[in-house]
């Protein structure tokens, strides 16, 4: 995760918010992976289960 964490937070960010910033990025990674998986898999799944209309 170190490559993703990166030095992107504001220099004056208090330490406790710096920790928050890192965790926000990790949650964003989770959401990103979730949305990509959903985007790739949802329609094939729907068609396999319910067919065409």
């Amino acid at each position: 995760m170190s490559a993703i964490d990166g030095p992107s937070q504001h220099p004056e960010t208090p330490p406790e918010f710096a920790v928050l910033h890192k965790w926000l990025i990790r949650v964003c990674v989770f959401f990103f992976v979730w949305l990509v998986a959903e985007g790739a898999g949802l329609v094939p799944y729907l068609i396999a289960h319910y067919g065409w209309w």
Partner: protein, 241 residues
């Protein structure tokens, strides 16, 4: 606490480039980075269409791979956190723009009906019951249609443009992403209330029920709750005027 930050070159108007114009890549690594960036952007948008998601995901992953290779070869690329957040914004906005536009404009096509009626059977029954019977076609749940109009015509194009400039490391992109995400947050709040009020006829008649709301509708759409604090704590000096 202080950081020394080298400004990334993947942006318009970089030092050495034409003022306000794109800086031409000078090395093989930079060319690779530019190509990877382009594929990443296209992959995110295609992935969010849902219909072409199976094609979009590999393009997106290949774009990320090329960016990683370019970084290893010495290209100066933007922080990965910005790439991930920009990608999240793009895929999310594309789902709410392109996929939802199929319900708005293509509700009479086989692909539009297949996607949304099947989605209704699994997740939100509002799309399966009385589909295409309203005044403007598509989903017949009135609040859903209203939020769909606000998303497809206003907020999501704004969010895509903001994310594009965010990925270009422009200050405009940061500001518009913040604005668009606040609007998205308001839409999400309205959407949650609308779904809750119509819960029995919507999620009560779908296969997944309340689980479907959380898996598809609830969790991914809470993106702005996470993205907004990130955008407020990010170093603005990374972005050029």
């Amino acid at each position: 606490m202080s950081f020394t930050i080298e400004r990334p070159r993947l942006r318009r108007g970089a030092p050495g480039g034409a003022p306000g114009g794109p800086s031409a890549p000078t090395t093989v690594a930079e060319q690779l980075a530019q190509r990877g960036d382009k594929l990443f952007f296209i992959g995110c948008l295609v992935c969010g269409t849902w219909i072409l998601g199976l094609i979009g995901a590999p393009i997106l992953i290949y774009g990320l791979y090329l960016l990683r290779q370019a970084e290893k070869q010495g290209a100066s690329i933007r922080p990965w956190s910005i790439t991930i957040v920009g990608g999240l914004l793009l895929v999310d906005a594309s789902v709410n723009f392109m996929a939802w536009s199929l319900d708005m404009f293509a509700h009479n096509t086989a692909i539009g009906r297949t996607l949304w009626i099947d989605y209704g059977r699994m997740v939100d029954g509002g799309y399966a019951n009385f589909y295409n019977t309203g005044a403007v076609g598509g989903v017949s749940v009135t609040p859903e249609k209203a939020i769909q109009f606000a998303s497809c015509w206003l907020v999501m194009p704004m969010k895509i443009a903001g994310a594009w400039y965010l990925l270009k490391m422009r200050r405009t992109g940061l500001q518009w992403s913040i604005l668009a995400n606040w609007l998205y947050f308001c839409l999400w709040a309205s959407y949650t209330v609308a779904m809750s009020l119509d819960f029995p006829v919507r999620f009560g008649s779908s296969s997944l029920g309340v689980l479907g709301f959380w898996l598809i509708g609830g969790i991914p759409f809470t993106g702005p709750v996470v993205v907004l604090p990130f955008l407020y704590t990010v170093n603005k000096e990374l972005f050029t005027e």
